[in-house]
């Protein structure tokens, strides 16, 4: 306590309405128990509902304690937070490390006019989470930390924003049709079954009684069940998509010292993510293999200082799934110049790259087939089972061709364009000023085939972007076109001529690039 007493000035609490929200939450958690016990007269049979209520009460109380013990302070040079009652924590982060300040709000926060503020530095995880502040205080805090004009007068702010994309109903198809629908419907059915059981209704009987399954026969039963699950799952995904992406908007907004990309989305819980344009190094568009026929694409920015954790709604994603054409249109607006690198014609990779992929396609199913054939001969597994992986070889060869055809690279003005990937064909556009190192990798097989893999290192996005199986002689040329000053002293004799591409693109790159590095 004495440490707190020493410098007590400037510490602030979370908003007091949080306490009321917690009380409200506690009252709401009692509702299902009361309904089950009084209205349906289920008594102790409804124990799962009581557990839910109990958990709700405990979490509300814990939340109240959290509110009572959290203090934060924004100093001239750093931001600090103290929290916890069983375990006291103190954390401080220098203000110039703070990269993003996002706000989000669940329904209960919105009803109370509150916002949750997420503050992060370059680290992988959020540095601070303030749950919650009054929305105007949250705005001011963000403005204070990032130097963004506070959005108090909304009319004025609107004038400063350029809308790059807003939600279209046609995107619906891209986002809800997916194999995941079956998993979603499984989870929905399971939770519905458990919930209805507490109210004395058996879902299995309801479904069994709805249709005369026996007269349908086995084949039709499977068809109806599959279709039913798919429709239900798709419906669930549609609801979820609406909840997350309703009112989606991608805008470029003005800040005190530049501009930022801002996405705003959500029906009940609105989430805003700011991405400083000064940290923008490029964009990446990826096209999943299974929905290539839909021309579906996912769009991300390649930017420094954005946290990236697999599986989460990454801050880098600037659009929901859209058509490739829309993704390209928005990407061009995000990059905001005349080069349009995504429309640049890509150079194909040499034929041996296909041969390397066909070798993989041969031995990846081939080795298991041989092993199984051997095990089959000893009688450990059924004798025919080796045919399963062996039968996959033609499929693998087809995939090898697909993978080969997705390879490509180009230099478009100041941008490197790199495309590769089988499961996800990803086109990455990276500003050459974002390159902080080069690697050229060559295995013995690649050397025999005259290939090499170029690895572009950057501080943004995935940190490393690969150009797999480029012609060995061209690897250095591509690097030279992007960063001529760095590569010139170590280029082999005579390679400089091979380097200057006959295409005008290469020449332009030299001119556009010298000032940046000089």
């Amino acid at each position: 306590m004495s440490a707190v007493a020493l410098d007590d000035a400037g510490w602030q609490r979370l908003n007091s309405r949080v306490a009321w929200v917690d009380l409200g939450k506690m009252v709401v958690t009692f509702i299902p128990s009361v309904v089950a016990a009084v209205v349906f007269d289920q008594g102790l049979q409804a124990w799962p509902v009581f557990i839910v209520t109990g958990l709700g009460v405990v979490s509300s109380v814990l939340d109240l304690k959290r509110w009572m013990h959290t203090r934060y302070r924004v100093g001239a040079d750093r931001m600090e937070i103290r929290k916890g009652w069983l375990i006291r924590r103190y954390r401080s982060v220098p203000r110039d490390r703070i990269r993003t300040v996002d706000t989000s709000a669940k329904l209960r926060h919105r009803l109370a006019g509150l916002r949750v503020v997420h503050i992060s530095s370059g680290e992988a995880r959020t540095s601070f989470k303030l749950d919650a502040l009054e929305s105007r205080t949250a705005e001011r805090l963000r403005a204070d930390l990032l130097g963004v004009t506070p959005a108090v007068e909304t009319a004025e702010v609107k004038a400063e924003e350029t809308v790059l994309a807003r939600l279209r109903w046609s995107w619906f198809v891209y986002n809800i049709v997916s194999v995941w629908a079956f998993l979603v419907s499984g989870l929905l059915l399971l939770s519905a079954y458990l919930t209805m059981q507490t109210f004395g209704v058996d879902l299995r009987e309801v479904i069994a009684g709805a249709v005369d399954w026996r007269s349908l026969g086995l084949g039709w039963t499977i068809v109806v069940a599959t279709a039913g699950c798919f429709v239900l799952g798709t419906f669930g995904m549609a609801l979820n998509y609406l909840r997350e992406k309703a009112n989606f908007r991608l805008v470029r907004t003005r800040t005190d010292d530049g501009t930022a990309l801002l996405t705003r989305q959500g029906m009940f819980r609105i989430r805003e993510v700011y991405r400083d344009d000064r940290r923008l190094r490029g964009v990446a568009i990826s096209e999943p293999l299974l929905s290539r026929w839909l021309r579906l694409a996912e769009t991300e920015v390649v930017s420094t200082g954005l946290s990236w954790t697999p599986g989460s709604d990454a801050a880098a994603a600037i659009l929901p799934r859209t058509s490739v054409a829309e993704a390209r249109r928005v990407a061009a607006l995000v990059l905001g110049d005349e080069h349009r690198p995504l429309d640049a014609p890509l150079r194909r990779h040499p034929r041996p790259a296909l041969r390397r992929r066909l070798v993989w396609a041969g031995y990846v199913p081939g080795v298991p087939a041989a092993l199984l054939a051997w095990l089959g001969a000893t009688g450990a597994v059924p004798g025919w089972i080796w045919a399963v992986p062996a039968g996959l070889i033609p499929v693998a060869c087809l995939l090898a061709v697909v993978a080969y055809r997705s390879l490509g690279h180009a230099m478009a003005g100041p941008y490197l364009v790199m495309r590769s990937g089988l499961i996800r064909r990803t086109t990455v556009v990276l500003q050459s000023r974002g390159v902080i190192g080069w690697g050229v990798r060559q295995s013995l097989l690649q050397r025999r085939l005259g290939l090499a893999t170029l690895r572009v290192q950057t501080a943004a996005g995935n940190r490393v972007y690969e150009v797999p199986d480029i012609a060995a002689g061209e690897a250095a040329a591509f690097a030279h076109a992007a960063t001529p000053v760095i590569l010139a002293p170590i280029l082999a004799e005579g390679a400089a001529e091979a380097v200057s591409d006959p295409q005008p693109d290469g020449q332009e790159a030299h001119i556009a690039h010298d000032p940046a590095h000089g």
């Binding site: 060995a472 760095i486 082999a492």
Partner: protein, 166 residues
């Protein structure tokens, strides 16, 4: 068939010859511990014998080949150079890797000396960038004094070359 290699000059300096000894010692330590564990399992846990026996047939010859060839092979490949613009190194054996890091993008410079390395008066010069573990360069097998001098020189150079805080 020079067009099977990337059109890059080989970096100007080789690493120290003592690095061969260093790599051999590393291989000895690894090999003895791995094969030692397998032999111990074979002797003390008879139940595992059918599984371990094939490995005990296959591993030792591969290991002997590795021990006697790979350190030389590495020595023939590994090279390094510091130009006015960049740190440049070539490493590897089956898979070779050329790495180039512009001096303006260097975030930190380390000289590392393990117990074996300091006995042999060797050091590893480690250059890191904002690309985290994916980026940067490690030059293994430098003479300890040379590594110190390179580190000093790079520190001076990084102060004169303005970096942009990526």
């Amino acid at each position: 068939m020079s067009d099977t290699l990337p059109a890059l000059k080989p970096p100007s300096h080789r690493v120290e010859r003592r690095a061969i000894l260093l790599w051999t010692l590393y291989a000895l330590i690894w090999g003895i511990s791995v094969i030692g564990v397998l032999v111990a399992l074979y002797v003390f846990l008879p139940a595992t014998r059918p599984w371990i026996q094939p490995f005990l047939w296959i591993l030792p010859p591969i290991y002997l080949l590795y021990l006697t060839r790979v350190p030389y092979w590495r020595y023939r490949v590994h090279r390094w150079e510091i130009t006015d613009e960049a740190v440049y190194a070539l490493s590897g054996w089956i898979v070779r890797e050329w790495r180039i890091v512009p001096i303006s993008r260097i975030q930190s410079i380390d000289v590392k000396k393990g117990p074996l390395q300091s006995r042999l008066r060797l050091a590893t010069l480690k250059i890191s960038t904002a690309a985290a573990s994916e980026g940067g360069i490690s030059i293994i097998g430098l003479d300890a004094d040379v590594a110190e001098r390179c580190s000093d020189r790079l520190t001076d150079l990084t102060q004169t070359v303005p970096g942009d805080a990526t």
